[in-house]
C-alpha cells in the first residue's frame, strides 16, 4: 500500500514537557473498542484535555490558542506502557506529523515509524532549549529535514542533527510500506522455514 511521503516539514510546535507520558494518557483504554483506525484524534490526551463533564480544561496545552502545529515536543520516555498503536493513530489523526523528545519507548517508536509519524530524538539539553524557546515564542517555526536528518529553527540559530536508520528513512522518504516489503520476501521466508525442516 502507498503511504504519504515525508521529506520536509515546517511548523510551529506544541510543547508538552512531562516525562514518562504513557499510552494510557495518549489514548485511554475505554476508547480502544473501535475496529477501525480512524477518529482517535478527538480523544487524544482525553483526560488531560477534558474534565469529567466533557468541558475543555483551559490550561492544557492542546486547548491553548497560542500553541498549534504539526510538531509535538514532548519529554523523556515518551509513549511508554501499552503497545496500543491507537496512541500513534490518535496523535497522527489529531494532526501531528512529528514528535520530538530525548527518548521514546521502544514499541511506540516502531509503531510511529510504521504509520509515517516521525519520532525525532535529540539530546536532553537541546530538547530543554527547544522547549524553552517554544514557550517563549509560540510562533517559532521549526523545520524538520528528514533527508538531511536535521532540525532547525533559523532565527534562533538552533540546528540539531538526529539519527534514524537508513532503511526506515528510505521507507518514509519514498512512502514505502514495509509490510509490502516483507510480503515480497515470502519465497525467502519459505527457504528459511525449509532450512529449519519445514513451516511446522
Amino acid at each position: 500500500m502507498k503511504r504519504e511521503k515525508f521529506d520536509l516539514l515546517e511548523s510551529t510546535c506544541v510543547p508538552l514537557p512531562l516525562a514518562d507520558i504513557d499510552t494510557d494518557q495518549i489514548i485511554p483504554a475505554r476508547f480502544l473498542s473501535a475496529t477501525s483506525r480512524d477518529g482517535f484524534g478527538k480523544n487524544l490526551f482525553r483526560d488531560w484535555r477534558y474534565d469529567k463533564k466533557g468541558n475543555e480544561i483551559k490550561d492544557f496545552v492542546l486547548n491553548r490558542a497560542e500553541y498549534g502545529g504539526a510538531i509535538l515536543v514532548a519529554s523523556s520516555n515518551f509513549g511508554c506502557g501499552s503497545s496500543r498503536e491507537h496512541a500513534v493513530w490518535a496523535i497522527a489523526d489529531y494532526g501531528f506529523r512529528v514528535v520530538i523528545s530525548d527518548s521514546f519507548a521502544d514499541i511506540f517508536r516502531n509503531n510511529a515509524l510504521n504509520n509515517g509519524l516521525l519520532p525525532v530524538q535529540i539530546p536532553s539539553e537541546m530538547l530543554s532549549e527547544l522547549t524553552a524557546k517554544i514557550i517563549a515564542n509560540p510562533d517559532l517555526i521549526v523545520k524538520i529535514d528528514l533527508e538531511r536528518q536535521l532540525i532547525s529553527a533559523d532565527e534562533n540559530g538552533i540546528s540539531v542533527p538526529f539519527a534514524i536508520n537508513t532503511f526506515r528513512k528510505q521507507c518514509l522518504l519514498n512512502g514505502l510500506d514495509n509490510i509490502d516489503y516483507l510480503i515480497n520476501m515470502r519465497s525467502r521466508i519459505i527457504e528459511y522455514e525449509n532450512s529449519r525442516g519445514g513451516p511446522g
Binding site: A19, D24, L32, D106, I107, N114, F167, I183, R186, R188
Partner: protein, 478 residues
C-alpha cells in the same frame, strides 16, 4: 542446527535465539525476524485483519497464531451476550476473523479462554527457544520459559499475519543478576517492583534483559512469569530466563507438551539454551534478594515504588529529573512527600491480571485471608487469569476458602487491569492492585492505583488498610 553450541565465541541466550531466527539482515536497518508463535486478542487485531483484507493478502501461517478474547470481556455472566455493543462487536470481529482465516480461537467462556499471557503457557504453546509476539506489551511474560517474547503494535500484527516475520532492530543485551534469596513474606512481584524502583520506568529502554542468579533460579515458573511480565515496566523490550529443571518440570505437566513432537527435540537441545560462560552483555546489574521488602507504589508509574512501610520521597530523593511530572503524579494520587502509606484506608482490592492472576497468586492470597473476613470498606475483585486457573482454584478448595472469607470469584479476563469492561475503580478511590500499571486513569478515570504483590493485596483486603503482610500472619511461607 538451530542453535549454536558453545565451541565458538561465547554467546548470550538472547543472541542464540535471535540469530537463529534471522531470515535476513537489512543493512543499517532492522533484521527480518521469523516468529514461531503469535498470540492475538480482540483489541489490537481488528485493524490488522482489515488492512490485510484491503491488501488482498491471506494469512501466511495460520497455524502459528492463536487467539483469545480477554481485554474487554465482562467478568460476570459470561454465558450471556456482552451488553456493551462496541465491545461485543470487537469480540465478534475476532471470532469472525479467526473463522475466515483458519486461526485457532479460544473465545469467551471456552475452557481454554483467559488472559493471553496466562493461557499461552498453559496450553503448551509457549516453549523455550522460541520467538513469540503479541499485540500487547506484556508479551514479555513468555520470556520466563527462555523465549524471546515481546509486544508489538497493530501494523506489526499485520506483518506477522502476512509473512510470519517482523522487521526488528536487535536490542542491546542487559543482564540483571539477583543473588541470595527472597525473605519470607516477599514475593516475586515485590522483587520486580524493587528492581524497577531502582532503575526507573525507562531504565532498561533499548535492552532485552536476561534475569539470572540464585534468587531467580529459585523461583517457580509462575513467579518467573511475574518477573518477565513486568520487564516492560522498566522500558525493556523484553525479559528472559534460562530454561532449567523447573522449566521442563512445568512443561512436562502440560498434556499437549508430551504429545508434541517438538518436545523431544527441545529436551535434547536444552543444554544449548544457555548463556555461555564469558558471554558479554552491554550492561550488567546486580541486586541482593535478601534486601527486598514487600513493596508498594505511591505514584503513577511502576518506577515510583517504595517499601510498604516506607516514606514517600520528594522528587530529588526519588532521583527523578522532571519535578513537574513527579509532583503531578503525587497530586493525582492525593499524596505528598514525607507521607507514610501504611495504615491508609483503601476502597478496592484487585487480585488478577497477567502479572498476578495465576494459581500461585490465588494460593498466596487465599492463605493470607483464610479464617479472616473481608474488610467492610473494601470492594474486592478476585479475577482468575484463565478458566484453567479458575478450575484449579475450585479443585484445590481455594474458591471455597475465599467464599467463607467474604470474597466472590469473578470469571477470567483482564478486568480491572485496564478497565475496558465494567470493572472500573471510581474516581478518587484507592485500589491496591496486583496488576502492573498504576498510570493515571488506568483502572478507570480518576482511579488511584497502588501496585502490590498478592500478599499485600490480601492484607489490605482483610484490614481495609495498607498493611504489611509480615505483620498479619505467619502463613506467608509459601
Amino acid at each position: 542446527m538451530l542453535f549454536q553450541g558453545s565451541t565458538m565465541e561465547p554467546l548470550t541466550l538472547f543472541d542464540k535465539i535471535w540469530d537463529a531466527h534471522v531470515v535476513k539482515s537489512v543493512e543499517d536497518g532492522p533484521d527480518v525476524l521469523y516468529i514461531d508463535r503469535h498470540y492475538i486478542h480482540e483489541v489490537t487485531s481488528p485493524q490488522a485483519f482489515e488492512s490485510l483484507r484491503q491488501r488482498g493478502t491471506d494469512v501466511f501461517r495460520p497455524e502459528r497464531t492463536t487467539a483469545v478474547a480477554d481485554h474487554n470481556i465482562p467478568t460476570t455472566d459470561q454465558h450471556l451476550p456482552i451488553r456493551d455493543s462496541v465491545s461485543r462487536a470487537q469480540v465478534e470481529t475476532l471470532e469472525e476473523n479467526c473463522r475466515t482465516y483458519g486461526i485457532e480461537h479460544f473465545g469467551i467462556g471456552h475452557s481454554g479462554n483467559g488472559i493471553v499471557h496466562v493461557t499461552g503457557p498453559e496450553l503448551g504453546y509457549t516453549l523455550p527457544g522460541m520467538t513469540i509476539v503479541c499485540g500487547d506489551s506484556h508479551t514479555s511474560t513468555h520470556g520466563a520459559f527462555g523465549a524471546i517474547a515481546f509486544g508489538i503494535g497493530t501494523s506489526e500484527v499485520e506483518m506477522v499475519l502476512a509473512t510470519q516475520c517482523l522487521l526488528q532492530v536487535k536490542p542491546a543485551r542487559m543482564r540483571i543478576t539477583v543473588n541470595g534469596s527472597l525473605r519470607k513474606g516477599v514475593t516475586s512481584k515485590d522483587l520486580i517492583l524493587y528492581i524497577i524502583s531502582n532503575i526507573s520506568t525507562s531504565g532498561a529502554a533499548g535492552y532485552f534483559v536476561e534475569f539470572a542468579g540464585e534468587a531467580i533460579k529459585g523461583l517457580s515458573m509462575e513467579a518467573r512469569m511475574t518477573i518477565c511480565n513486568m520487564s516492560i515496566e522498566m522500558g525493556a523490550r523484553g525479559g528472559l530466563i534460562e530454561p532449567d529443571e523447573i522449566t521442563f518440570d512445568y512443561l512436562s505437566r502440560i498434556t499437549s507438551f508430551n504429545s508434541n513432537p517438538e518436545a523431544a527435540k527441545l529436551t535434547e537441545k536444552r543444554l544449548s539454551l544457555r548463556t555461555d560462560p564469558g558471554a558479554v552483555f552491554d550492561r550488567e546489574l546486580e541486586f541482593d534478594a535478601s534486601s527486598v521488602p514487600p513493596m508498594i507504589t505511591y505514584g503513577t508509574n511502576p518506577g515510583m515504588g517504595m517499601p510498604i512501610d516506607g516514606i514517600i520521597p520528594d522528587h530529588e530523593q526519588s532521583g527523578t529529573d522532571n519535578a513537574g511530572s513527579f509532583n503531578k503524579a503525587l497530586e493525582y494520587m492525593g499524596f505528598s512527600p514525607g507521607m507514610k502509606l501504611l495504615g491508609l484506608p483503601v476502597d478496592y482490592v484487585f487480585l488478577g491480571s497477567c502479572t498476578n492472576g495465576r494459581i500461585e497468586d490465588l494460593r498466596a492470597f487465599t492463605a493470607m485471608v483464610k479464617g479472616k473476613r473481608k474488610a467492610e470498606n473494601v470492594t474486592a475483585l478476585i479475577v482468575p487469569g484463565s478458566q484453567q486457573v479458575a478450575r484449579e482454584a475450585e479443585k484445590e478448595g481455594l474458591t471455597e476458602v475465599l467464599r467463607e472469607a467474604g470474597f466472590a470469584m469473578r470469571q477470567p479476563g483482564c478486568s480491572s487491569c485496564l478497565a475496558m469492561n465494567d470493572d472500573k475503580i471510581p474516581p478518587g478511590k484507592y485500589a491496591v492492585s496486583t496488576s502492573n500499571r498504576n498510570f493515571e486513569g488506568r483502572q478507570g478515570p480518576g482511579a488511584r492505583t497502588i501496585l502490590a504483590g498478592p500478599l499485600a493485596a490480601a492484607a489490605a483486603a482483610v484490614t481495609g488498610r495498607i498493611t504489611d503482610p509480615r505483620d498479619l500472619t505467619t502463613v506467608y511461607d509459601l
